[in-house]
């Protein structure tokens, strides 16, 4: 397995304090991970941290999608890690890269597109607007969709979206 030093540097830069280096593979993260439990470790946070730390880029990005996208982001591993490693921050870096590679599960591209186009992950619907009225609720304050789209476009998010 080859180490990609550029990638390794990115990983190490995630924590200013460099705590990830102190992972001693105790497996507590995986022991407490609800997804590892129900998938027989097909999703395995300890393994992801090891691969990231060693700069094993290929092992991470050519594996089955679930190897990084199986996380349910419950932040339990962050709490139980004896070395105070913020695992989910490292995982976010991996997932952001996977998005760029075009390899994330469809859901994530769809949600991003919905936010890009509507400024909301759950856009308004006429039936619910009526229900709000029935319940005596004020209308939702409408966001400035153009402004949000511009913000995201300026940051190149539109180029990461998929599908049409």
């Amino acid at each position: 397995m080859a180490t990609d030093f550029e990638f390794r540097k990115q990983v190490l830069d995630m924590h200013m304090s460099g705590v990830i280096k102190y992972c001693y593979q105790c497996n507590r993260c995986t022991d407490y991970c609800p997804v590892a439990e129900v998938t027989d470790n097909a999703y395995n946070p300890r393994q992801n941290i090891l691969n990231a730390l060693l700069g094993f880029k290929d092992a991470i990005f050519s594996a089955e999608k679930i190897a990084i996208w199986g996380c349910t982001v419950c932040d339990t591993c962050d709490e139980v890690c004896p070395q105070s490693i913020e695992l989910t921050e490292i995982f976010k870096l991996l997932k952001n890269q996977s998005v760029i590679n075009g390899d994330a599960p469809d859901y994530y591209y769809l949600q991003a597109k919905t936010i890009f186009e509507n400024a909301k992950a759950v856009p308004p619907q006429p039936a619910i607007e009526r229900r709000r009225q029935q319940l005596g609720l004020p209308a939702v304050a409408a966001p400035d969709v153009n402004e949000l789209t511009t913000l995201l476009k300026n940051m190149g998010i539109d180029k990461k979206l998929k599908g049409e």
Binding site: V35, K65, V73, V99, Q111, A141, E147, L152, M155
Partner: protein
Amino acid sequence: MAEFKMFEGCMIGNRIPFIEASCRKVFDKLGIATSQAPFSCCPDPTGFANFDNDGWLAVGARNLALAESEGKDIISLCNGCSNTLKLVNHTLKHDNLKKDKINQELLKIGKEYKGTIDVKHFVSVLKGELEKIKSSTVKPLSGLKVACHPGCHYMRPSEVMETDDPMHPMDLKEIVIACGATVVDYGEEVLCCGSSVSNAYEDHGMAILKKKMDAVKKVGADCLVVNCPACFQQFDGKQRDLSKKFEEEFKIPILYISELIALGMGIPADELGTKFHRTRVSDILEKIG
């Protein structure tokens, strides 16, 4: 108490607004003042943050800037939103490089976030009003056995959320007790609902949900109380599928904590829109009387 900007979030605002109804009624009774702002999606800490971290920071910061321009703190009705807004706030308050980078983007749309406001989950605010909740409860819910699910992002990651013990949360339980109901422990209080993994891997989400509901069912809870719309949707909306998948009946009523408090305050179920729940709550309504 100073007025908050209400961040209901798009799931509550645009899909399950009856939750906003109970929250608003409870806030009114307790004297918690709120006003609206044209917020966008927070955006989702388990979805969009994993899509593009800087984009997530910028959209979150723009929301914070909207509240800051009125000099008001935010009150959130949702774990996901409060997680995003608190994480973004924390990052920008502690990392000047990031703050400058994000503000450069905000500047192009005529905004800036200085970092002067705070974000509160409504449960943390209610936790500070236990006495008032007690004194406004006219229908003590004694005898009602309540299981609690505060949800991961109410208290984790703890050094940013700064609400409750990350692995032994108490806030929600204390509110339930203040309403006069009985808390039942089921041993899986801090287990995730499985909502986020369900988005790409439905089966794994269902397996986690099963573990959770098994535990709640086993202790004979009358209902499960939550404070996040994503948890609510997972529990309320998916129990029927769970029953089918595992050929075993799951029909535990799910209540938002604001609904429980409102019922204790004597607010009629009709006004709360409890009929919009997917899993029937009529059994508990009868029990409360």
